[in-house]
Structure formats: structure tokens, C-alpha cells
Amino acid sequence: MIDQIYIEKAVLEHPRARAVMGRFPHATVTVCDRYGEIFNRKAQNFRLQKRKPALILAGKFANHVLPSPPEYAIGGAVNYYFSHMLNCIYDCRYCFLQGMYRSAHYVLFVNYEDFCQAIIEKIQAAGAASAHFFSGYDCDSLALDPVTDFVREFLPVFRRHPQALLELRTRSTQIRALLAQEPMPNCVVAFSFTPAEIAAAIEHKAPPVPKRLQALQRLQEHGWPIGLRFDPLIYQDGARQQYERLFGQVFDVVEPARLHSVSLGSFRLPKSFYRNLTRLYPDEVLFASPLEETADGMVAYRDSIRRELLSFCRDTLLNYVAEEKFFPCEAVITSNADTDHGVGVPTN
């Protein structure tokens, strides 16, 4: 799977770096000073690199935990995100990472201890206010878990701080580590879905919808709180019927008692990311969709399509979900482009 590993000199002896390298004994290891030497270079081609991404093992020395865009909140008073990894093993065509990063290589920050310390500090600073932490903006939270041990290392922090909540956002079926431990009421496993027809067309390398539903079912049977993320909503001919069918499939499986939250949001990207994506994939039908620039520098579906699909999905979802568990991206639901911001659609 990984033929090439780059490793920063500073983390050569880090136990996690050594453990990860041990999982790829045949990979070539190349030492660098800072991961940016490889990851941030000019003239890289994301599409070509996606054919054979390398793994970069690095240390993150600042900004471990950052405030998250308010429209992605699911009830927390203060909201943060953190990324132990950059980039994703899946290849979803709508993903903003393709437009944001120059490289498709996976960066794994191995100094989890610094992330955990930063999380604890934020929890303590929040005091009595509920602090929510989101993982899965810059990577899939679980997809590489057997390699990264992310679940095993980060969940104990939240077990010790039950007043805080962690969201693991994923499309993955890598749930063994979660099944191996007692569920936590303050850790939500949030699965992202698009209808099977759309997933098959543009969520390359991601597990198909039925496999994700199986993983979801096993986790909820084990007692884990479940989140549902219909974000981004993707438009195509017959999208309404496809989403209606998807919601039916999902709520056949989901137990209302285990459902923590449902959110949805439309496909949108910053204009510069969109421009990069269309350069990389000029042959992609998704980018020939009726998209337009909004006043705030984003690219989204034409307003009529966006409103129509969002309203339909919201109304259909509210047949299944109590309103207090429904967290739409407010700006999108009101179709007020002026309030819609953020870096793009979370990866997973």
C-alpha cells in the first residue's frame, strides 16, 4: 500500500513513527528536514500523486487545535477541530482537499501527545461550557486507524473528560478499535453518506454505502452514539429520488435512541479550490454541473437547485429525525449566500 515513506529528522526516533514504519517493512524511507519540503512544493500534480501517494511522518509544533467553522456545530458551545493527518486514502471528487493542498501524499503527525495536551487545555479553558472537537476535516478519522492507532490514543482523553465531545467523521469500515472498547456517550461516530449511485460515481476507493451501513449498525449495536452527515449534497438527474431512497436505507438501520445528530449541507468550495479542481479534472461531470460563484467567493450549485435539494432533503429527514437532533448548515438552509463561509466541505 505504501511504497515510500518520508520522515522528518526530528521524529526519526519517535515511538509512533517507528511503529508506523514497522508496518511497511518494504517501503523506502527517505529522511527530510520538514514535511513541507515534500508536501508544499510547487508544480506538484495532485491527480498524478493520487495514483501512488507516499506517507510523510512529521511532527506538528503549533496550532494543534483550531476553532471550527460555526455552521458545522452540532450543539456545542465552543467548537474545535484538529487534524492528526492531512489527506485521505479515498478519492472523492468533490473533496476540497484536492483544491487546497498541492500534494496528495498523506501526512501523519506522530506527536499525538501534543495534540492531546492541546485538547485538554481547550477543555479546561471551556470550563462548564460544552466543548466539541471534530476530527475528520483534513482526513478520514478512521480510514487509516489500523496504521495510525488514532482511536486507541485519542479516545482516553475524552473518557477522562466526559464534559467534552469528540466527533469522528468517516466513510470507513475500520471500526475494530472502537468495537474493542466500551462505548463512550461523548464520542460520536459520524458517517458520511451520498446515495449509492452518486457514491459509486464519485467517491472513488471509499467503501460502498451498504458496507458503511453495516459498520454503522455494528457500532450502534455495541453502544456507540451515531451521527449522520449528508454533506455535501450532490445534485444529478434523479437526485431527489436517490436521496429519498438513501434516507430510507439509512433509517431502516439507525436506531433513534443511538442517533446523536444529523447534519446536511450543499456542495460548495472556495473559488480558488474549485479552479484548481477543474484544472486537475477537466473531464469530470461533477464540475460541468450547474455551479456558480457566490458573492462571498465560493462556488456552489445554482441557487434554485441548491435551495430545492436542501429543502427536499431537510423535509424528508425531518420525517425521520427529531428537530433537536437536526443540525443543518444554517446558511445553506436559509440560502443566504452572504453567511455561507468556511474552507469547504469537511472531508468525511
Binding site: I38, A43, Q49, I202, Q236, A288
Partner: protein
């Protein structure tokens, strides 16, 4: 297109024969086969010569970011066997300490090692390969080409057991010749990546036909390219929308027609 940069004739000779490269008129020490899109430039020894060869080739072929580049030549190593072909992960200029990390997106059944570019031949063999050109090649390539399309490939010519003194032109020719199968594989991969990027950049024959027929401003040309790409994405079997656009009198009419056609096309992903 693929441009191969070699330091010396013995390295190049087997490639000139195999790829049927002929001297390019008016371009000294430059060879080309238009049928395959492969060129070879002889640089001479040293970083500065390699960098100059890149620049010369770039200009001669009006290269862009879709062109692929291969620095092929001999190198020393402490214990890899003479004749072993090697791909390179990291190139360091011994003089300045500057480093480059080639980005390879295809698999080849070859060992991968780091390489140091020295000013002078050196008999102190080490774990890194060493040569005298590669850093100059990368320095000249920086920012000029797509990173994944720039590769160094080295053939071991000497090691701790078989010193540089044993390296003769005949030996070099033989080492390159015996590695032709793997060289062919690497050049084939690079040509295929180059072709993919060319295809993605190419707005297609309709673009050429329409811009010949009507006057498009610079901004309208961008619009036309974008609309035609969308058209191709939505109508992959429609080989020539130009025919249907024939009766339009102006560039603006063509753009309006294409836009309207796209609006009416149902979106079907996959």
C-alpha cells in the same frame, strides 16, 4: 514528450540506437525522434553542463509542464552491484547542501536510493549513490516542469570492489544496453503521464476550429475552453459540436449556444 539528458556519448549511444533518435538539425548534441516524442540531449560532465542542457532542450522544444524529463547516467555506490539500475528518492548537492525529492507515481522493480552530486569523482564510496550531474538537472528543472514528470535513473558503474578506474566507454555502453528493458519501462511510464497531462490541457480540435472561424477575445477564449471541456464531460460521444455551431456568426453567439446547450443537459455522474 520525453526529454532524456545524458552526460556522455557512451551513456547515450544505446539509447540513440534503441529509440531511433536522429541528430536534430541546428541543435548541437541533441537528438530526436518525432514519431515517439523522445529527445536526448548530451550535456557533458558536471552540474553546470547538465543545467545548461536542460535549458537548451527546454527552449529547443518549447517545453511546457506536460513534458517529461529523465536524467539517465552512471553513478557510483559502495556495494550495489555494477550494472544495477536504481531510481532516486533524494538528490543532494554536496556543495550547497540543497536537496530535491523526486516524486515517482509509478512502480518499477528497482531499488530506490538517495544520491549525492559531487564536484569531482570520489573514491570514498558511501551508502548514497554519487554522480556529477543530477543536482544541476534538478536545479534547472525547478518550477519548469511537473514534478512527477521529472525523474533521475542511474546505473551503477563502480563500487568499493570495482573502482572508477575500471569504467571504460565500452563498459558504460554495455551497462546501459543490458538495462534497456527497464529503461524502456521507465520511459514508457513517463511518456504515458506526459500524454495524460497533454490530453487534460488540450481544449480539443473544436477549440482550434472555432477560434480560427471567429474572433474570440482573450476572455472569450477562456470561456470557450471551459465550455468545451464541460461539453466533452457531459457529451463524451459527441465528437464535434463545431459542426452544429457552424451557422453562428459571432464568437458571442457560439458561447451563448454552448452555454444554453449545457443548461439543458441532464447531469448524470458516472
Amino acid at each position: 514528450m520525453l526529454h532524456i539528458i545524458c552526460a556522455l556519448k557512451p551513456e547515450a549511444r544505446p539509447l540513440l540506437d534503441h529509440f531511433e533518435l536522429r541528430a536534430r538539425p541546428g541543435a548541437a548534441r541533441m537528438y530526436y525522434n518525432p514519431a515517439t516524442g523522445i529527445s536526448l540531449t548530451l550535456s557533458g560532465i558536471g552540474q553546470a553542463a547538465a543545467a545548461a542542457a536542460v535549458t537548451r532542450t527546454y527552449t529547443q522544444f518549447n517545453a511546457d509542464k506536460t513534458h517529461a524529463w529523465l536524467n539517465l547516467g552512471i553513478a557510483g555506490h559502495t556495494d550495489l552491484p555494477v550494472g544495477q539500475a536504481v531510481m532516486i528518492n533524494k538528490v543532494t548537492d554536496a556543495r550547497s547542501g540543497q536537496t530535491w525529492f523526486p516524486s515517482r507515481v509509478f512502480s518499477v522493480p528497482l531499488p530506490c536510493r538517495d544520491l549525492i552530486t559531487l564536484e569531482q569523482p570520489d573514491a570514498n564510496y558511501r551508502q548514497e549513490l554519487y554522480d556529477m550531474e543530477c543536482a544541476g538537472f534538478f536545479r534547472a528543472m525547478s518550477g519548469q516542469a511537473t514534478l512527477e514528470l521529472v525523474q533521475p535513473m542511474k546505473i551503477i558503474s563502480d563500487n568499493a570492489g570495482q573502482s572508477l578506474a575500471t569504467v571504460t566507454p565500452a563498459l558504460v555502453r554495455r551497462l546501459i544496453t543490458q538495462n534497456l528493458p527497464v529503461i524502456k519501462e521507465v520511459t514508457g511510464q513517463l511518456l504515458s503521464l506526459s500524454a495524460l497531462l497533454q490530453q487534460l490541457e488540450d481544449p480539443g480540435p473544436d477549440y482550434q476550429a472555432l477560434t480560427r472561424r471567429h474572433h474570440f477575445s482573450v476572455s472569450q477564449r477562456h470561456q470557450l475552453g471551459a465550455l468545451l471541456r464541460k461539453w466533452q464531460a457531459l457529451h463524451p460521444d459527441d465528437t464535434s459540436p463545431t459542426t452544429r455551431l457552424r451557422h453562428h456568426q459571432t464568437a458571442a453567439e457560439v458561447l451563448r449556444h454552448l452555454q444554453a446547450g449545457l443548461e439543458q443537459t441532464p447531469i448524470r455522474l458516472g
